[in-house]
């Protein structure tokens, strides 16, 4: 399963590559307030998909689109633990 620290590491790496100033990541922080734009998130999702083997946005049809950093991390944590359980 993907650990929170791995997810955060990917977010930080993409922010650095894209020269974006990343706000301190707290669970309550809105994704739009992180300092990252949609292309950054698209890249993050693609990188995490490489680690996980699938894209949780695509895997579950009833997924609510994450709004906060906490939502985003939980989506991946749950998806990857479900993957292990399955």
């Amino acid at each position: 399963m993907l650990a929170r620290s791995e997810i955060v590491a990917v977010v930080e790496q993409v922010a650095a590559e894209q020269s974006k100033a990343l706000a301190p990541l707290t669970d309550q922080l809105g994704l739009l307030e992180t300092g990252l734009d949609s292309l950054c998130f698209a890249i993050i999702v693609a990188r995490l998909e490489d680690r996980l083997g699938f894209d949780p946005f695509n895997a579950a049809e009833d997924t609510d689109f994450p709004v906060t950093v906490g939502d985003f991390i939980r989506l991946y944590e749950q998806a990857s633990s479900g993957d292990v359980a399955a």
Partner: protein
């Protein structure tokens, strides 16, 4: 003028240089062209095929090449069947080509007659009088569905050979292409009409074996797609040949492949040609730079070029006559063939950026995979790459890349190299064009026509 007697490939190649000094070399056999003046490779007298529509369906190139030499000027139409044509398409090819007889080394098709052909020249008396202006039909492989039958003549196939490219007696031509495809046929005709010999490739040989054989026959002029050449550059046998002329066609020649070939063959003329089965050969660029000079567009001459809505259009005597079977041919009201190849004007030069149908849309911004590949390929550790779209919930799609590196890296080194290649891309490409992720792969699939396989 048009009332002149038809001429034939046999007649023209005989006039081009002494037959006894010229050869067709294949992996299976070598045939001296002089043998054809005393014998035949076909199992029936030529007169039995006079005026007929003939499908040449041989497994190997050599029997097909010999049959082509013998039948031009005799048959009304010759349909050249590429070796990878699926059997299921054969009936529609035979019907559309109104084929009366199949000349081949295997009787796979039901048509009026089957005449065996082989790489062996059997002594026979053959009347090689030309009576037909033979139509040559090439098959273009659609990714799906039945192939299109594209009609040419010996004249339309050889317009580009009027002194603009190095020909010359004694030349030994070769190509990675199968000679039954447009790119391979161009080289075959250059060899035959220019008074030279030709080394045919073989589906049964490795790249290394082919290069060694071409080298052993003293190849002087050799052509392939950039994908063919990237493979060849991975072979230690590349240096078993020392060609004077190296040609690329069939795919975009990016700066990296031109530079690699320049390093490999410092004394050779290196040219990248633009051609398609439908549009014919438009030009060859010999200045070592990717793309082509802007002044090629609109200049007077035998080949007219236009850029309309970003795509290159060509009008010349090299254009195909059309498709058989009533399929609409892609030319405009002025007779220009739309190639579907997209170009962009930058600093007085047109760069090829990709195919019209291949665009990836990333959150509304467009990318041609080929321009990203060109950027990746310039990294010194990269041999070749394939860029494709991956579905993405945020932007609809992102760009991802499969990359073949020159020496495989693992673990931490691999991650570092990926980072370096991405950094390299960010230096030259708009940010949405930079791959989101890179995978290192051992090899990339190259299709039967020598082009990188792009799956939707």
């Amino acid at each position: 003028m048009s009332q002149r007697e038809p001429t034939s490939l046999w007649q023209k190649l005989s006039e081009a240089g002494p037959l006894c000094e010229r050869w067709l070399y294949s992996a299976e056999a070598n045939v001296n062209l002089g043998a054809l003046s005393r014998g035949s490779s076909l199992g029936a007298p030529l007169d039995e095929l006079r005026g007929a529509s003939v499908l040449i369906a041989a497994r190997d190139q050599l029997p097909a090449a010999l049959a082509l030499i013998e039948l031009d000027g005799i048959a009304r139409r010759i349909v050249l069947c590429p070796p990878d044509l699926a059997d299921e398409h054969l009936p529609s090819v035979i019907a559309t080509g109104e084929v009366d007889a199949v000349v081949g080394d295997r009787c796979a098709a039901k048509a009026g007659r089957f005449i065996p052909c082989s790489a062996e020249i059997v002594p026979a008396h053959r009347v090689r009088r030309a009576s037909e202006r033979t139509e040559w039909v090439l098959l273009t492989s659609g990714t799906t569905g039945a192939p299109k039958l594209t009609a040419h003549t010996l004249c339309s196939l050889s317009t580009a050979m009027a002194g603009r490219d190095p020909l010359g007696a004694g030349a030994v031509w070769s190509t990675f292409y199968d000679m039954r495809r447009y790119g391979g046929l161009q080289i075959f005709l250059r060899a035959m009409l220019g008074g030279g010999s030709m080394v045919l490739s073989s589906a049964t040989e490795s790249v290394g074996e082919f290069l060694a054989r071409a080298g052993a026959q003293g190849v002087t002029h050799i052509s392939g797609t950039p994908s063919h050449w990237r493979r060849a550059l991975m072979s230690t046998s590349l240096y078993k040949m020392a060609p004077r002329y190296v040609r690329l066609s069939g795919e975009i020649a990016d700066q990296a492949i031109l530079d690699h070939l320049r390093t490999a063959f410092p004394d050779a003329d290196i040219a990248h040609a633009f051609a398609s089965t439908e549009a014919g050969v438009a030009f060859a660029v010999g200045d070592g730079l990717a793309g082509f000079p802007a002044e090629y567009v609109g200049r007077p001459g035998a080949v007219d070029l236009r850029v309309v809505d970003g795509s290159l259009r060509i009008k010349s005597g090299g254009n195909a006559l059309g498709y058989l079977g009533g399929i609409a041919f892609p030319h405009d009201e002025d007779g220009f063939v739309d190639t579907g190849d997209m170009v962009e004007l930058r600093d007085g030069r047109y760069d090829f950026v990709g195919r019209r149908g291949g665009i990836i849309n990333i959150g509304g911004q467009k990318v041609h995979p080929e321009e990203v590949e060109a950027a990746i390929n310039r990294h010194p550790s990269v041999r070749m790459s394939l860029v494709k779209a991956r579905r993405n919930p945020i932007t609809g799609a992102v760009v991802v890349a499969d990359v073949v590196v020159k020496s495989p890296a693992t673990g931490h080194d691999a991650d570092a190299l990926k980072g370096e290649i991405l950094e390299f891309c960010r230096a030259t490409l708009a940010r949405h064009k930079v791959p989101a992720t890179i995978q290192f792969v051992a090899a990339l699939e190259v299709g039967a026509a020598g082009k990188l396989a792009r799956h939707a």
